[in-house]
Symmetry: C2
Subunit: 149 residues, 2 copies
DNA sequence: TACAAAAGTTAGCTTTGGCTAAATTTTGTA
DNA sequence: TACAAAATTTAGCCAAAGCTAACTTTTGTA
């Protein structure tokens, strides 16, 4: 149990900073990702995505949703005529699909590892935004391996 | 490969909202946790934690650090006389220790799983704030199991 | 088909955590 | 020991994302 010094203290300031910077960057895309993912789910579930339901499932108020949807419009991810329900653009659909896949990989991985379904869903909502391609690939491989065994 | 419907679409609005709410809550404690953890590291490494180094290792400017340190003071986690370096209160030390342990568990888990050391450190910086006690315990158990085998 | 309830929007406030510019204090060195 | 450089702080700006209150539009139903 000797300390190999392979810990945070052995990292250069720059290396350490790049980790914190990545977290801040991830948090900037997080809202958009969760919205398009949820919109895709609601369309699949109900045939339409309405702001009132987005608000309910995110646990925020309707004005918050209304304001954030404007950002998604600006970014070309959704289409919405005033007072009507929401559609995804092609770009929005693609982002939503990528987010749903990533979310699914994280949840399935946690479950394969032994975490309960409820907690897996709960934790995945945050974890999904901080998983690099490399880590995601490792998660996916682990889940597939477990499924075979 | 039939879909068991054990997916996001089968969850109640309330269940789904509680996940998003947990993420927002985690993000509120994140800054404080990263600061005390880093301060503890710098004290161990250099005998002192100076704002200029905190700024460098977080990748933010010195005024940002100065402002955020005031929050840590208000919350009773650090002590600092003006223009002097930073000490942790007993409460700050305890929080730092808990954060370092959690960080270490997440990094070691990712490495045990097959993620490279660099990417493990990188991803852990964000993931650590979104891991419930249950998931953390599963991570820890997995790492210990791997160490034996 | 009127009209109340529900949904959506707008306006405006708050907090958080970034930033730059400039002032102050400490530190290191000629 | 003077003084330049470095560190720290203060002041003030900004954007993001939450909120409430109030307004507008749509929907459902008596
Ligand atoms: Mn999420
Ligand atoms: Mn998600
Ligand atoms: Mn996060
Ligand atoms: Mn962190």
């Amino acid at each position: 149990m000797t300390d190999t010094n392979e810990n945070a203290l052995s990292r250069s300031p720059d290396e350490q900073a790049s980790g914190f910077e990545a977290v801040r960057t991830a948090h900037q895309s997080e809202m958009v990702e969760d919205y398009v993912e949820l919109i895709a789910e609601l369309i699949q579930l109900n045939g339409a995505a309405r702001p009132v339901e987005i608000a309910e499932r995110l646990g925020v108020t309707q004005p918050t949703v209304s304001k954030n949807l404007n950002r998604l419009k600006r970014e070309g991810l959704i289409l919405q005529e005033p007072y009507r329900s929401i559609r995804l653009t092609e770009e929005g659909r693609e982002l939503a699909e990528a987010c749903r896949q990533r979310h699914r990989i994280v949840v399935d991985f946690l479950v394969a590892l032994g975490v309960s379904q409820e907690v897996a869903e709960y934790d995945a909502e945050g974890i999904e935004h901080h998983v690099s391609e490399e880590t995601l690939a490792v998660f996916h491989a682990f889940t597939k391996e477990r499924a075979k065994g």
